[in-house]
């Protein structure tokens, strides 16, 4: 363990530049968890994440795990998927969930919001062509509803269709007779979720203070 910490301090020093609100302590915590998940390897693979028992009940488990291996979430302008991710990539994905602090300015808030929306958008847009097609949307809704039992695929589909219609009607009110709505672009995506408050939903406090809870999590898993 000791030896690892030196490496962490390297990582943390470089990471602190990009995540202004992350302290070395928190990175240390996350790194502990990272090692736990990867069985003390340098990298994490899909199988490692799929083994997490607590995640098994999550209806969108697949999307969440995919998000970790998605190169688009690394801010490197790359597309495609990793086979394995290191701690740096892991942190990068986690950084999407950092909460704003009191010092955050309005512009930074906006940027963070956009980042989070982009993260969600990427979860939908599995083939990263820049649009969420009906097909992709349906899939997510199906997954979301898959745990609630009796609803079934049909209702999920109907709901996705209705949602898609809603997007189309709010974004493209004047469509020419011949074109059809191909999918939700990111701009449209921003548009439909414009009024939604993300602050209370897309934040995790672990990037703030959480040594206690980390220990809890560790003892549990």
């Amino acid at each position: 363990m000791r030896t690892n910490y030196r490496w962490i301090s390297d990582v943390s020093s470089c990471c602190c530049l990009c995540f202004f609100s992350v302290s070395p302590e928190q990175i240390k915590n996350l790194h502990k968890r990272f090692q736990q998940l990867s069985d003390n390897e340098e990298t994490i693979s899909r199988e490692n994440l799929e083994k997490i028992p607590a995640l098994a009940n999550n209806p969108i488990r697949k999307q969440i795990i995919d998000a970790f291996f998605d190169k688009r979430n690394q801010h490197q302008n790359e597309v495609g998927a990793f086979q394995e991710i290191g701690f740096e990539q892991f942190l990068m994905v986690m950084s999407h969930f950092r909460p704003p602090t009191l010092k955050t300015t309005e512009e930074e808030r906006e940027a963070m919001r956009k980042e989070k929306l982009r993260f969600l958008f990427n979860m939908h847009d599995t083939d990263n062509d820049g649009t969420i097609t009906l097909e992709e949307y349906r899939k997510v809704v199906e997954e979301l509803l898959s745990k609630s039992g009796a609803i079934g695929l049909e209702a999920a589909k109907a709901i996705a269709d209705a949602a898609m219609l809603e997007v189309a009607s709010t974004n493209v009110p004047h469509m020419a007779p011949d074109d059809f709505y191909e999918g939700i672009t990111f701009e449209h995506f921003e548009q439909i979720l414009k009024g939604l408050e993300m602050e209370s939903r897309m934040h995790i406090r672990f990037l703030d203070v959480d040594t206690m809870t980390m220990r809890c999590g560790k003892s549990k898993s």
């Binding site: 969930f97 979860m123 009607s169 209370s200 897309m202 703030d208």
Partner: protein
């Protein structure tokens, strides 16, 4: 004495009738008051129970009066009426209540009434004794707050809420109490006889905040949800804390000396009282939920259980001298979710109405009495003590918020900024609870009158000054706001998506925090609690619930707005007229535009699932929708339910379109229509093509429901209705029908019947646009069905019907 009584009654009655005249609701005034006024005077000379001289004989009295017998309920009723009339009066001109909080107005009215009573040397009503207040006036108020507590934000912020409610109140009580005690040592004020315990008692009374007025303002300006819920929760739970402190201090105040052991016992008692109350509340909440599981046969008494169980929780808690406020609040919180699923829509509405009604009348009365009592009681005015009380209340509140936020902020996901803190501190109005507590102080407290005076002073000061000025201030400093009225399905889906994502990430980090617990609780709830407590215990995702509601609402909108229109089209038995011929005569362009407006405004405003924010005096504004829901509930539900769908709709479509069920529609329908239908129902359809840029045939078919948008340029939402309906129709009909031929035909009927409705909507629009064109093209009123007539001349009329012909062209 009798004279006195009757004079009181007369005064009350005159006031009452005066008010009713003032309020301009002469029609609603019961005949009782005016009758009473005329009857009462003749009694005075008689000085006896009998009203008329004839009764002096020993014969059977023809007319008797026994006022003392009915005195108490009679006067209570009159007081309530008076207060209610006052409330009606405020809303005659609605702008008053925007700028001046209702509580201010009530107090003012109370002051006026008090002045009148004082001028005729009248005693104030004796209803405000300790028992009456705690057993009858307080429970409705607290039940109201507890029942309409916005659950989700509350649990998201529960830590902060409790922190401010418990620690904040303690902070205020002890801070104010100590500082006042220090002031008491100054000889110049002449209040050296007030000891520390009494000061603490008084401080605990005035540290109960009651920001009804503030909450109204917050709600109006859409202040951010975190701030709102903290103020809301604080006022709710600090009532509990205050009452506990009050009981504790009033016990301590009677003791000559306080030993250290008593302090520890006090702290222990504090926890016993608080947690015990919670325990009883949860217990009774679950019992209530469980009971409503079996009330499906006795709908008429269903709402009663809610009130009885909450009241029972309150009384039992009171019996054991634990926090009854905690008990009733937790009881309401616990049972609400389950009860509202168990009881019928009607009962649910009743429950909400009655909870609101009781809470609001109770509070109205307290504010009203506050005004009356301010005038009629004897005051002991001590400038020094009262001014310092005001100062300390203000300073300690401000300091408390500042310090407590500094401590809680690191634990909050979204910290409170300075503006929020200002809102929190400035929102600390004192209200009904403080007044009632002060008024019910035991008499053995030496300076009771001073305390009452000081409490009234601080209430008047905060309610009037802060209450009136908080709206401009909040708007001026521009506190962060939240848009709460988002009822679109996309938002719902993404809320869920985000919740699951966060829960997943938390799991992935092995962290137990808010979403972890929420996730676990939902699982526990779905697996166990719902099974036990709810009759029809199918877990339903909130997305589905919202979707159903949207759909239902859309159906209602169509029915309501287009009742006449659809009637024109559909109810004519033999459809001899074609679609476009009739509306042209009936609807002018202006009417159409109106309808579009109505539809586009109302279309996607759905009923909120949980009552998000209510103020104390009005019911949640979904009530109107609810009423409609009830009206339409049975009929529409039946038609939307999968099982009964075909059986009810098929005959209709027969009637409307005169197409026999077995007949092949394909002859009359161009094949593209069928394809459209089937691509919708296909599990897998060509993804690649649908995503590709060129609108190939199949892709355009796949997106058919969306493509219908293009035909609508003016009112997209109108179009959505039809599509939403259609999509479900497919979904629903497919769930219980296999792809056998016998089922396909009815399904198409369904489809077509729906298209008919939405088509008519489209058609309307088309009319609007193309009215001149169509006028030149007279419709042959043939007796053939519409669909059959369509290929001949329908090219421009109905986009839906036209579409099949486009596709081949495009190819």
């Amino acid at each position: 004495m009798d004279l006195n009584i009757s004079r009181r009654a007369a005064a009350l009655l005159i006031l009452c009738s005066g008010f009713s005249l003032l309020c301009g609701c002469r029609g609603e005034v019961p005949p009782k008051p005016t009758g009473g006024v005329t009857i009462v005077p003749p009694i005075k000379p008689d000085n006896g129970p009998q009203a008329y001289p004839e009764a002096e004989k020993s014969n059977l009295p023809v007319f008797t009066m026994d006022y003392p017998r009915i005195q108490i309920p009679f006067e209570i009723t009159l007081w309530m009426l008076l207060a209610s009339f006052a409330k009606i009066g405020f809303h005659v001109y609605h702008k008053i209540t925007i700028w001046v909080p209702e509580s201010c107005l009530l107090i003012s009215i109370g002051l006026i009434v008090g002045a009148i009573m004082h001028s005729v040397h009248e005693e104030p009503p004796a209803v405000l004794t300790s028992n009456v207040f705690f057993l009858y006036m307080l429970p409705p108020i607290v039940l109201d707050s507890g029942y309409f507590m916005p659950t989700r934000p509350f649990f998201e912020n529960i830590g902060t809420v409790l922190w401010f409610a418990v620690v904040g109140t303690l902070w205020n009580s002890i801070g104010i109490g100590m500082s006042l005690f220090a002031i008491c040592q100054i000889e110049a004020f002449g209040v050296q006889d007030i000891n520390l315990q009494e000061n603490l008692l008084f401080a605990s009374i005035i540290s109960a905040v009651d920001p009804v007025a503030v909450l109204n303002v917050f709600e109006d300006v859409n202040v951010n949800e975190q701030l709102y819920i903290v103020v809301f929760g604080e006022c709710l739970f600090n009532d509990a804390v205050t009452v506990v402190l009050y009981n504790m201090f009033s016990f301590v105040a009677e003791m000559p000396v306080v030993e250290p052991v008593d302090v520890f016992l006090g702290v222990a008692r504090f926890f016993v009282v608080g947690l015990g109350g919670m325990g009883f509340g949860i217990l009774f909440g679950f019992v209530a939920a469980f009971t409503t599981r079996f009330t499906s046969k006795v709908r008429e008494i269903e709402p009663l259980f809610i009130f009885m169980y909450s009241y029972l929780a309150y009384l039992v808690a009171e019996l054991f001298a634990i926090s009854s406020i905690m008990a009733i609040v937790t009881c309401a919180l616990t049972m609400k979710y389950y009860v509202e699923e168990n009881v019928s829509q009607r009962s649910c509405t009743t429950i909400r109405h009655v909870v609101k009604m009781l809470g609001s009348i109770s509070e109205t009365l307290i504010f009203f009495f506050l005004g009356v009592v301010t005038i009629t009681t004897e005051h002991e005015w001590n400038w020094g003590y009262i001014l310092f009380t005001l100062l300390f209340a203000f300073v300690w509140r401000g300091l408390g918020v500042l310090v407590l936020t500094q401590i809680i902020n690191p634990f909050r996901t979204i910290p409170f900024n300075l503006k929020d803190q200002f809102g929190l501190a400035y929102g600390g109005l004192r209200g009904a609870i403080s007044f009632a507590l002060a008024f019910t102080l035991p008499d053995n407290i030496g300076r009771k009158q001073l305390f009452v005076t000081a409490t009234i002073a601080i209430i008047l000061f905060t309610v009037f000054l802060q209450g009136i000025s908080i709206r401009p201030l909040i708007e001026f400093i521009n506190v962060r706001r939240t848009n709460r009225n988002l009822g679109t399905i996309n938002v719902e889906i993404h809320c869920r998506l985000m919740e699951h994502t966060i829960a997943g990430i938390e799991d992935l980090c092995g962290q137990w925090s808010h979403f972890y617990w929420k996730d676990k609780f939902m699982k526990f709830n779905n697996r166990i609690l719902r099974r036990i407590l709810i009759r029809d215990s199918r877990a339903e995702s909130s997305i589905v619930a919202l979707y159903k509601k949207l759909e239902l609402q859309n159906a209602m909108e169509i029915l309501d707005t287009y009742e006449t229109l659809i009637g024109t089209f559909c109810s004519s038995e033999h459809h001899t007229t074609s679609f476009s011929a009739k509306p042209k005569k009936k609807f002018l362009a202006a009417d159409l535009r109106n309808m579009h407006d109505i539809l586009s405004k109302n279309m996607y405003k759905i009923r909120q699932r949980t009552v998000a924010y209510t103020n104390k005096h009005t019911l949640p504004n979904d009530s109107q929708t609810k009423e409609i829901l009830i009206r339409r509930h049975t009929s529409i539900r039946r038609s939307l339910r999968p099982g009964s769908f075909q059986s009810t709709m098929v005959p209709k479509s027969h009637k409307y379109f005169s197409l026999p069920a077995g007949q092949s529609l394909d002859l009359k329908f161009p094949p593209a229509r069928l394809n459209d239908h089937e691509t919708l129902s296909e599990v897998a359809y060509p993804t690649r093509r649908s995503r590709s840029g060129r609108p190939t045939r199949s892709s355009s078919r796949a997106m058919m429901p969306l493509r219908r948008l293009d035909t609508l340029t003016e009112a997209p939402s109108v179009d959505t209705v039809g599509d939403g309906g259609r999509i479900t129709d497919h979904g629903v009909s497919r769930t219980n029908s296999s792809y056998s031929d016998s089922h396909v035909a009815p399904r198409r009927h369904l489809n077509s019947s729906n298209d008919n409705d939405s088509g008519s909507v489209d058609n309307l629009r088309n009319n609007h646009h193309e009215a001149p064109e169509e006028e030149e093209e007279p419709q042959p009123s043939s007796s053939s069905p519409v669909w059959a007539a369509e290929p001949r001349d329908g090219t421009t009329r109905n986009p839906l019907l036209r579409r099949p012909q486009w596709n081949p062209k495009k190819k």
